[in-house]
Symmetry: C2
Subunit: 471 residues, 2 copies
């Protein structure tokens, strides 16, 4: 496969007719905006693509608001793009066919906490940090942490995961039930608050990860977890990325219930050292966290220390106080911004492949060698406990040849991952950027099934059209 | 809602034309059978329904075999019903519109074990006991255990769970990837062996739990788990079902990673005592299992013992040797047969509701009072750690009035569970028996979405037609 054009093909625009605009203004007043600045803010995300603003932005405050917008969009066959906080890295939010951006950020209420059932129901605009702040008194927490302070709606739509997934699973495992506005503007419910069910097709998991292409999620019921009695974090340096990854593989295969197991390569460590004024040894590093009882955490840590030593890991450096832990994880979460600052004016393009863990060392190694050979600056962080890593390139936005070269590196990394029975995206989603890779991963048969689903549930192709699936 | 007719309405038959029969015989020879005994064996299951045999049974030995049958069925618009071991309890296997039963029991190969990745790929006819036997040397196990020695295909098709789900999840969480023969006879793959993915619609979870109504699973890739270093099982008697359930709720809310937490009411204990020649105290009982490290198991058990004591639980009786554990769990798994023997000639109708755990005590209590008031013998086992229980009635198969009364009890139990934000089926699936309850659970909107999916993926309605969804 040739590298795809790193910029999306601008598709045929589907203009918002004035009758629809009038109807939106009549209902939403100032909450319906066509101001240039507002449109531009809703026409970009953290992806490599240039801005493509929607024609109009509607700030919804209720499910009925969302249903009203979608009913109009259905009537006029106009695209609809749900918008949370804009942290997509794959171009999900770009209005490549024009249309309406539905801003959900004002739907930011935690609707119902059921601590006794370990569930919470939220509106889609609630961010994960806000959620954890608001439920702090319950002794529970929502573990899924993709780094960015994303909205729960966006995280559900992309099937996000992040640093805690190795222990707590992804959004796939942690969304129990949904309220969804369908492509016809109907309001439906999927799932229940029961922990499990065999009652019909699993619509919840069909919408989770559907990237706004099947409907707009307006309520999300999540699993919560008791805050662990004890938490400890540690870092451990390794002589090579390979050694760190092999230690991780061993940890997982032994069944250690590690809560976080993150790789940073030397480039990433160097960047966060500078950005966060830390003085970590600039070599490949695992940043780990253990959750459990006091003795359980101790036991896990001992096992992991032994494994690390086998693979040439140095002694652990512990971060036992909450402040130290926060400092380390904040640094980890800043890695993206820290890395971007190492090449002034650059744009960052993040890979996101995920492979069966036995192939992880080989997959990372090949991607590193390939990148070294091409001389494009890169850095790596990885949720290596899940077999998922982000090798990210720092490229000059004005150098089309470099962009093309990076895309070629990315294509090869994706194809390698797929040949290893892995996936082109562990957690960022398809958006625009990963569309060319789906066929190689799923084959024509499964792609045909996906297209059938899309056509069945969105016959006018108005829900985030042109994303994920080419029809 | 009135109680549905406990017997299914026989639907319009869709005869297998002689051209199709000839084609099947030409390809499959003796593996294509129209013998009365074979048809009858494939026209019943463990449900309350009378036998409804298919017109022909084909014993498939490969994915290509399955595809060939489905292609013929597609051509002739004839129903197709996948058959594993016949352990459905909700009527999934009955040929209510006639057609072809695809017997998958000869597709019983473990195709690939990847111990380093904690995955295994199997054919659908592999049973769970067989799987665990065949992978024993790897130090890994597949925990999902619905009691019956069901086929992995059947367990996937009904989104089964069982005793270990409280810790390890259900088939929903444990199927990573599938090979499926679609309604047009095409062979597709869904998912990968990577632990997570955001690459498109979650087809794997759409087929898991679809009860043969969208396609036939021909390969299933599952997660495996390291055998725990230490396992211990214990029983604890309680003064009432309510006390046992309240103790369970507390255990779950505390976040104890208990591996199994099963309720047996006094009726169930009495039955297994007789059947398995045990002398358990005949009062409500929790049968528990703890997995972990030696010290972890000890710690869990201590916490649980304290909780149990609070709710009037007696001292634990431990089963530390594998033999003792096996004896207890075998007794638990025999509960169904044991209970059936307490009323000679009876038929057992099992409820399967699941509710948010905070409502569990109330839900069980109401169902018990209701059953007591109606005087139909019943017994209870429950995967109470998940909020799921089976209150099952023992009824006279020749007493239509009793059958009607039991169905009324069941309707009320289901409606109560749904009002508590729970589900009509925690793990048995919809089949024929739960169809009348889906609307109350999902609402018309979600039902319309499910029907759209069915029509999109099975336009001729040949895949296990008349089950799960009324079109």
């Amino acid at each position: 496969m040739n590298a795809p054009d790193p910029h999306p093909i601008v598709q045929a625009m589907r203009p918002v007719p004035s009758a629809m605009l009038d109807a939106l203004r009549a209902r939403f007043g100032e909450r319906c905006s066509t101001a240039q600045a507002v449109r531009e803010q809703h026409g970009r995300d953290e992806s490599v693509y240039p801005m493509m603003p929607p024609e109009v932005v509607v700030f919804c405050e209720s499910t009925d608001d969302v249903a009203a917008v979608v009913k109009l969009a259905d009537l006029h066959e106009v695209p609809v793009i749900p918008f949370g906080v804009g942290s997509s890295v794959e171009g999900h939010l770009l209005a490549i066919q024009g249309g309406v951006s539905i801003d959900l950020s004002r739907m930011d209420k935690v609707l119902a906490v059921h601590p006794e059932d370990l569930t919470v129901t939220v509106q889609p605009g609630v961010t994960r940090e806000q959620l954890n702040r608001e439920i702090r008194d319950t002794g529970l927490f929502f573990p899924i942490d993709p780094g960015a302070n994303a909205s729960i709606g966006g995280m559900s739509a992309t099937r996000a995961s992040g640093t805690n997934a190795v222990r707590y699973g992804t959004m796939r495992e942690n969304v129990l039930a949904l309220q969804v506005v369908t492509a016809s503007g109907d309001i439906i419910r999927t799932g229940t608050r029961a922990k499990k069910s065999s009652a019909g097709y699993d619509l919840t998991r069909l919408y989770v990860g559907s990237e706004g292409t099947l409907g707009v999620m307006t309520e999300i019921t999540l699993k919560l977890y008791p805050l662990p009695e004890a938490v400890s974090a540690a870092i451990c340096q390794f002589p090579s990325v390979d050694a760190a990854v092999r230690a991780t593989i061993q940890i997982i295969q032994m069944g250690v219930p590690i809560a976080r197991c993150e790789l940073l390569d030397a480039n990433a460590v160097r960047a966060v050292n500078k950005h966060d004024k830390l003085n970590l040894q600039e070599s490949p590093m695992l940043l780990m966290e253990f959750h459990g009882s006091e003795s359980g955490v101790k036991e896990q840590a001992e096992t992991v220390q032994e494994i690390a030593k086998e693979f040439g890991g140095t002694d652990f450096q512990w971060a036992t106080t909450p402040e130290e832990r926060t400092r380390l994880w904040t640094a980890r979460h800043h890695a993206y911004f820290a890395a971007v600052q190492t090449r002034p004016g650059c744009r960052c393009q993040a890979g996101d492949v995920c492979v069966p863990i036995s192939r992880l060392a080989e997959c990372i190694d090949a991607a590193m060698s390939d990148s070294e050979a091409h001389g494009v600056p890169y850095w790596i962080v990885g949720h290596v406990g899940d077999g998922n890593f982000h090798l990210s390139w720092l490229l000059d936005p004005n150098d089309a040849a470099e962009a093309q070269r990076v895309e070629e590196l990315n294509v090869r990394m994706v194809q390698r991952a797929q040949q290893m029975e892995g996936t082109c995206t562990g957690e960022h989603g398809v958006g625009l950027h990963k569309m060319p890779y789906l066929l190689g991963e799923h084959g024509e048969g499964a792609m045909a099934v996906m297209r059938s689903l899309k056509r069945a549930l969105d016959p006018k192709n108005i829900m985030n059209p042109g994303k994920m699936l080419a029809l």
